[in-house]
Every structure is written in C-alpha cells, then in structure tokens.
Amino acid sequence: MSVLLLAGGHVLAGSMVSAFDIGALGRNFWALTVDGLTYGSIYALVAVGYTLVYGVLRLINFAHSEIFMFGMFGQYATLMLLGFSPSGNAYQQGTLMTIVYLLVAMVGGMAVAGGAAVGLERVAYRPLRRRGAPALVFLITAIGASFVLQEFVHFVLPKLTGGNLGGVNAQQPIRLVQATAQFHFGNATVNNVEIVIVVAALGLAFATDRFINATKFGRGIRAVAQDPVTATLMGVSRERVIMLTFLVGGLLAGAAGLLYTLRVPSGILYSGGFILGIKAFAAAVLGGIGNLRGALLGGLLLGVMELYGQALFGTEWRDVVAFVLLILVLMFRPTGILGESLGRARA
C-alpha cells in the first residue's frame, strides 16, 4: 500500500513538487505519528456516526459533519454559561478543575450534538421513511439538511444570542488547557492536550464497542442492521433503534467537537464541520462502512497517513492524501479493511 501511495503521489505531484521529502518523514516520524493519532482519534469518533447510521438505514448521513459542528458550538456555549469568555490566554484552573470543566463542556457538546442528531432524524428522515421515499431522496435531503444546519449557525444563531455565538467568523477560543510537554516518545514530545484527546477518544470508543456488542440495545441495533424484518418479528421497534443510533452517533460527534477544539482552538466556525466530516466519512469507508471497529481503525489510520503524506508532499497536500487513500481503498478493497460486519447477510 505504501508503495502505491508513493507512486500515486508522484504522479499527482508531478512538477509541482521537486522531490519527496523522505528525510522530513524520517526525522519527524514519531512526532507525525503522535499528531496523526490525535487527529485520527477525532476522525474515529465522528466516523462511528456515519457507520452506525449506514448500518441500520443504508443511508450516508451527510449532515453528520454539521452534528459535529453543533458539538463544537455546544461545548463553547457551555463554557460561556459557566462564566468563561474568549481570551488569548489559557485559563489556569489547576489540573482537577480543568478536568471538571472539560468534562462539563464535553457533556454540553454531547447533549447539543445528540439532540441535534435525533432532531434531524425526526424532522428530515422519518417523514421520508413513512412515505417510502427512494434512496436518492434521502441523500439529497441529507445534503440539504447539512446546508440548513450550517446556515442556522451562520445567520440565525447570532440573532438568537445577541451576536455572542455563530456568525461569519470563527469564535475566539476559550482555552482551558495550555499545551505543555509531558513526556518523550521516540523522538517526539507528547503534550497534555494530545494525551487528553487520545485517552478520551479511546475510552469513548471502548464504551461504544461494549454498548453495541454486549448490551441488549446494542443487540437490537445489530439485529436491525442484519435483518430488519426479522428484528421486527423479535419485537424490536425499528423506529426506536433508528433514534438510538442517531443519538449514539450524535453524542460521539459532540465529544469529538470538544476534543477537536482542544487541538485546533480556532476551528469553531459554522463551516468547520465540512472537511472534517468528509474525512471521517472517508475513514468509515476505509475501515469498512457499517463496521464499528472498522470506523475506529479507519479513523486512526487516516489521521496518521495524512500526516505522513503531509511530511512527504508538503502541507497543502494533506487533504489530498486523505482522499487519494480513500480512492485507493475503493479500487482495491471496496468493502474496506475490515469489511461490512454490521451489515446485512450476503447470501
């Protein structure tokens, strides 16, 4: 795969890049890996939302990127309600209080994103399902819903909040954590922000995996994904499972919203979900859409690969690397790395 990637990169780069900077990749390998895992854990959390909804509805919920964006604004609003205001410096609260505030902000972001996801399902998708609309209509609705949610934050939210939230420009960051180096890993320095992001994401990913694979409600979700008619015959309410699926995806996207703003404090923008959402979708496909563990693995892999690519080809090629990777996977292994395990039986 890496050989292919290099070859592909060479063709794409052509004369614009004189040579691959293999040296930069080698020198910064561990630093790139650490940063890649940080971004990757955020992609992974968002990718779960795409993959679960695809599993039960065979729908690519393109508005999921906006659910993530709502999560960013949700945690921001929570911090404002707690009395914080945008500031150039990080608030010094002591370790314990910082963790408490981070947790509260995360819960705030998760609540807003989870609520938005369930609301989106109710308002946009459920009426279509009742009418038995064709798949294409769902897809167009998803894209439309994506614009509606963006423009809500762009134009409506500032009016509702007296200009404190939303609007054209990114929010000035409220920073609770000052990134400070904690330990060395290979030749990389690992800082506290990276630790918080990776640990929180892994914890949430583990909890989600247990929920889907080892609880009754998770079994209901898998049953609907594998055979919706038989699931109904077992007494599973498909509508309730669909709602639960959107809720789980939304909660994780909301948590990802907080984690992302720790890494990229200037990223809280009405259009700030778009690229990240597409990458998370790519990560879900990379791992095998419909497959929970595939989405988690795909996220981490995509995060790391795009930073290696960035080191090789230059910063401006970072997004390109992510999508070239997606295209290569679709060409050589269309079911993704782990295949569609949540998905329906292939007889």
């Binding site: 049953a223 015959l233 039986a345």
Partner: protein
Amino acid sequence: MPLLELKDLTVSYGRIEAVRGISLTVEEGELVTLIGANGAGKTTTMRAISGIRQLSRGSVWFDGKDISRMKAHERVLAGIVQAPEGRGVFPGMTVVENLEMGAYARVFPTKAEHDETLARVYELFPRLHERRDQVGGTLSGGEQQMLAIGRALMARPRLLLLDEPSMGLAPMVIQQIFRIVTEINQAGTTILLVEQNAQQALSRSHRAYILETGEVVTSGAGKELLADPAVKQAYLGVA
C-alpha cells in the same frame, strides 16, 4: 372464544390481491396447518398476522381483541411470535445472541425465569447448546431451523407461527423438526403452521385449511383431509 381469528383478511401487493378474504380460527391449544401451493398466500397470511404486512380489508383478532392496527413489535409482546420463512437467523450473531433476540421484547421478572426458558430451549434442541458460541451464518439448514424455533420460544409465545419449517431440509431432519413441533404443542403452546409437506403436517395437526390463490378452499380435521381423495391428488402426489 378462539385464540386467533382472521375475518375476511385481504392483503394486496399493489393491485394484486395475494390474500382474498380469508377467514379462519385457531383455538387455544390447537395445532392448525395452512396447506397450499407456492403463491397460495400462506406466507402473506402469516406476515399479516405478525403485522409486517398491512391489511387492505378485514381484521385480525387475538384473544378476543381486534389487533389489526397494533404495531408489529407490540404483537410480540402480546404473545404472537413467528419463526419466519427462510428462518431469519441473524448471520453475524452467535447462537446465544440469536436466542437472546427472541427474548428481546420480553422482560422476565427474575433472571431465574429467563435461565429456565433458555434451559428448556436447550433441552428441546441439545444441538443449539453444543453450538451456542458459533455464529448463526455458519450453521447447517437444520440447525438454523432449530435456532429459529428455539428463538421464538424464548419469547414464551401464546401463539407460535411457523412458516415452512421443513423447507430445504433432509427427510431425517424434517422428521425431527415435526416431532419437536408436536412436542411443543403438546406442552401447551398453540401453533399455526404453514407447510408444503402436506403428509407430515396433516397427520400431526388437529385441523387444517387448504389455500388456493389467496382463498380457503377446504378445511377440516387433519386426518380427514389426509383421507380426502381431492386433497390426496392435489397435495400428496397420489393419483
């Protein structure tokens, strides 16, 4: 009062009426069979009883109540449980997980009661116990059918609907499945069975209805129908 009563049941796929005004009853404790050729409307009738097909006319009565508008997943809780045509085993779940899906809607008052139900299913189908950690998609056809029936029993049904349990199975396995179906019925569970294997089904049923192109053409006691020359010719391959 019958446990199940269909009154003038009509189900359409677009303009085509697959089931055209069927009326039938199943009494508590009975084993009743629907016999008919492909396309006679047997599976459609079963799906309508379970609520996954809408009625275009008529009604379904269960335990004295009109349940025509009750949602499919609520009917399971009311006591109507189906082992569907083609078995519907969840391919990516283990045998135990599949069985637990049968008990999805049911809230057992105590864990002991849940364990007792599971133990009874394993007693009926020892093979399922041997294979309990195996994934459903890797079971043989006969094992999948056992799993489908066992899973339905996990819901402790008052009315068990079995849609072609003998389909695609070897004669030995068919014998075994029918023996267990009779055993379940004798233990007190009311059963409505759909079958193409008329010989086996009729000899084991209390009563039977014969469907042709969506209508009931004959009904009577299982053994009587077995002796009926017209039935013999059409369904038992006897000239």
